[in-house]
């Protein structure tokens, strides 16, 4: 089923990531890092770049390592296990893949190199406040004036906008008809005039920003793509992002189960170890089985992304995201409940897993969104 070299590569990445995180990212260390700006460790960032991790998702054609999706997900799963937060998902995974999909032009290739070296951080500015998770709902307009393209509109949930050097802005051409809409994608340096960001901390200790664009100039090489395929290509790139999130969720589920097992095996109530109560045992078994099923679906997303395009990829990614997001949330809630009052304490990791899992479950489409997307794709498939 899985060839030996893939398996070995995965083990290597897994070991390397685990060593790195054990050394650098204890629960205490994490608290320190997220308490301060910019909400991630720039030291780690440099070290990760040196380890080549940012090159991993980028294909060899663009100077990357061209790692299989399974390898990328292996890394993300380890991040999930330790609640690791950084601009990695935004820049090295999501933006890099979007640009790769559209990098017919030199500007794309140049920026990919810099993303791969960790030199720049590019954050996708795709979603808009009125749109929920609908990629088709783009109110940001691109209009031509004075020989330049001017972008105006609002974007939300721009991950680590505080740390980004560039934004990847999706816009709709002004004056489009409903029947024929054209979209374009722009690489905008953050300090361009008319770009206004509001940064905030997110509940999981990461950072994000809201963006307002007020007649922001996108001069020729900055528009890295325009055409009918824009939304399709972005949607495929978001499949990788959602697969990555699902892998992080699976990692978080594993870790949540482990720490809950440790807790119930040491905690005593009514003169017995909590672990000896049968009703709690059965709930832990259900948590365990949800982990296993989630792991299976997560592995399938890797295969779908590397083997398919279009509907067959979309449906597998949405299947995994909606099932895993629900399972991860349920497991985190159960974990807190099994901890009892201790589960509400800030010093215990379990509550922070709930927060992280909640954030990840919403990112780039929540369970409801992917459930509806799955259903709609399913209806279109032949019976």
């Amino acid at each position: 089923m899985i060839d030996q070299s893939t398996f070995e590569q995965q083990s290597l990445i897994e070991d390397a990531a685990r060593r790195f995180l054990e050394k650098n990212y204890s629960f205490e260390k994490r608290r320190e890092i997220i308490a301060e700006e910019p909400g991630y460790s720039t030291d780690h960032w440099r070290e990760m770049a040196q380890l080549g991790w940012m090159l991993l998702p980028i294909s060899a054609e663009f100077g990357g390592l061209g790692g299989s999706t399974a390898l990328v997900l292996t890394l993300l799963k380890e991040f999930g296990r330790t609640l690791y937060v950084s601009p990695y998902l935004a820049s090295a995974v999501t933006s890099a893949r979007i640009i790769e999909k559209m990098a017919a032009r030199p500007v794309g290739q140049q920026i990919l190199e810099k993303i791969g070296s960790g030199e720049v951080i590019v954050s996708p500015a795709i979603y808009e406040p009125q749109a929920r998770y609908d990629l088709n709902n783009v109110a940001t307009t691109a209009s031509t004036a004075r020989g330049a393209i001017l972008l105006s509109g609002a974007k939300t949930a721009v991950l680590y906008g505080n740390a980004a050097s560039h934004l990847l802005v999706l816009a709709q051409n002004a004056g489009n008809h409903e029947s024929h809409r054209e979209f374009s994608l722009h690489l905008i340096p953050k300090d361009t005039e008319g770009v206004q960001l509001t940064h905030y901390r997110t509940h999981d200790g990461a950072r994000a920003s809201d963006v307002k664009l007020d007649n922001v100039e996108s001069r020729d090489p900055q528009m890295i793509w325009q055409g009918e395929q824009t939304l399709t290509e972005i949607s495929q790139a978001m499949n990788l992002a959602n697969a990555a999130i699902s892998a992080e969720l699976v990692g978080a589920m594993e870790a949540t189960l482990e720490l809950t097992l440790d807790f119930v095996k040491t905690r005593t109530q009514f003169g017995q170890k909590l672990s000896s109560f049968q009703s709690l045992q059965h709930r832990l078994v259900d948590m365990y089985m949800r982990c296993q099923m989630a792991e299976s679906l997560s592995r399938e997303t890797a295969r779908a992304i590397d083997s398919f395009r279009g509907a067959e990829q979309d449906i597998m990614v949405s299947a995994a995201k909606c099932e895993i997001a629900r399972a991860a949330l349920l497991n985190a809630e159960e974990a807190i409940q099994l901890h009892g009052a201790m589960g509400m304490m800030d010093e215990m990791a379990v509550g922070h897993y709930l927060k992280r899992v909640f954030s990840l479950s919403l990112l780039f489409g929540d369970a409801d969104y992917h459930q509806a997307r799955y259903r709609s794709l399913r209806l279109k498939a032949a019976s």
Partner: protein, 401 residues
């Protein structure tokens, strides 16, 4: 919409009076905090609202008889009153002094204790908190270990209490302490009142993973307590504690509070989104919304059957446990739904005023998710839902282990 049946016209008139009173008299800055599901109101806001109610015929203590300054209401009136408080976004009543210690003193206190203590509760001059749980004995109260040793006219108290809500705001603590180690575990427990200003008392805040300050650990180091502060008989604490927990568990169903939360979610769900789609028009959300609505209605009607029921009503004892379980389960579901409803806005860990381009959106940044996290506590506290299931299994279904 599913609507609960009206009461008789007299009671509905009463409801109207209460509703109007809240609308007119509840200060805006308090209403807003409650509408944001804030549980840890500052003491001054709690006192302010308490006294407004007190000055209106003792409404601050709805279950108290007239002789002690309460309004002397029927069960139905109390029920309607608490509903209207919740639906009007008024603060919870002061549970520890008003809801718990008061009734305990009516039942078990001495005349002297009643005279000394009740007026200060009525006037909100004294703030109370409750000391039951201890480190290492969460839901297993019988194993508690915080010791009171006689010494002349006093007891000397040593040990600590944990998960003590509002101890940082309180003047006094009531609770269960171990007065004898020889007796059966449940028998050596005594109900005692302790002045938190006594030398040897330390209150240390416990940080919960939502940044609110709600609970504490209270340490007792050679704290001297006059013997007159024992309520009931020495060793009667277990019985008093059970009585008291049964009072607390009704409150914990939080049916009307959840109705108020659901009402806010309803407004959000039906709000027009300029350039977007109403939340309620997403069928997957809509179905989960409808499901919560139905579950909440079933719960509310069950609460009425139990609290105000006809002669066929089920035993009230385990009814409290059922309301606690289902009430907190549904409450958690509604908070999760509300948090998910906010989509991107849910992530944001700052108040709306500081948010970026969202000023025209009906969604609340920040609070929805914060409340979802914070309200994970209700299925745990006040006797975890697992303990409540054990109680129903044993007392209602006669299942022995």
């Amino acid at each position: 919409m599913l609507r609960a049946p009206p009461f008789n016209s007299e009671l509905e008139d009463f409801r109207h009076t209460v509703r109007e009173f809240i609308r007119v008299n509840l200060p805006d800055h308090i209403r807003q905090q409650v509408a944001a599901e804030k549980m840890d109101l500052p003491r001054e806001d709690q006192v302010c609202w308490h006294r407004i109610l007190r000055d209106n015929g003792g409404w601050c203590c709805p279950a108290w008889p007239k002789e002690h300054g309460g309004p002397g209401w029927s069960d139905e009136q109390q029920y309607v009153f608490e509903q209207e408080l919740a639906l009007g976004n008024a603060p919870r009543l002061m549970i520890y002094g008003v809801g718990m210690l008061g009734p305990t003193l009516f039942e078990y206190g001495s005349e002297q204790q009643r005279e000394r203590i009740l007026p200060d509760i009525l006037n909100a001059d004294t703030f109370w908190c409750q000391g039951f749980s201890e480190p290492g004995s969460g839901s297993d109260l019988a194993s508690l270990n915080c010791r009171m040793t006689p010494d002349g006219d006093e007891y000397i108290v040593n040990g600590s209490k944990i998960w003590t809500s509002e101890a940082h705001l309180a003047d006094w603590i009531f609770g269960l302490f171990r007065s004898s180690v020889e007796a059966r575990k449940q028998q050596g427990i005594t109900f005692l009142l302790i002045d938190l200003a006594s030398p040897g008392v330390t209150v240390r805040p416990l940080k919960i993973f939502e940044d609110t300050h709600e609970v504490n650990q209270v340490f007792f180091d050679q704290v001297r307590v006059p013997k007159e502060n024992v309520v009931g008989r020495l060793g009667e604490g277990w019985e008093i504690g059970k009585y008291l927990l049964s009072l607390e568990r009704f409150g914990t169903a939080e049916v009307s509070r959840t109705k108020a939360t659901m009402q806010r979610l309803t407004e959000l769900a039906f709000a027009e989104i300029p350039g977007g789609t109403r939340l309620i028009d997403h069928v997957d959300f809509a179905e989960r919304f409808c499901r919560a609505e139905r579950a909440l209605h079933a719960l509310e009607m069950t609460e009425r059957r139990i609290l105000l029921g006809d002669q066929r009503a089920e035993s009230i004892g385990t009814g409290a446990s059922m309301l606690k379980i289902r009430g907190t389960e549904i409450q958690s579901d509604v908070f999760r739904l509300t948090a998910e409803a906010s989509a991107h806005f849910a992530h944001i860990d700052i108040p709306r005023s500081q948010a970026g381009c969202h000023s025209d959106s009906p969604y609340q940044p920040g609070d929805a998710a914060r409340n979802y996290f914070n309200y994970r506590k209700t299925p745990i506290y006040s006797g975890s839902n697992e303990i409540q299931r054990n109680i129903i299994a044993k007392l209602e279904l006669d299942l022995r282990s």
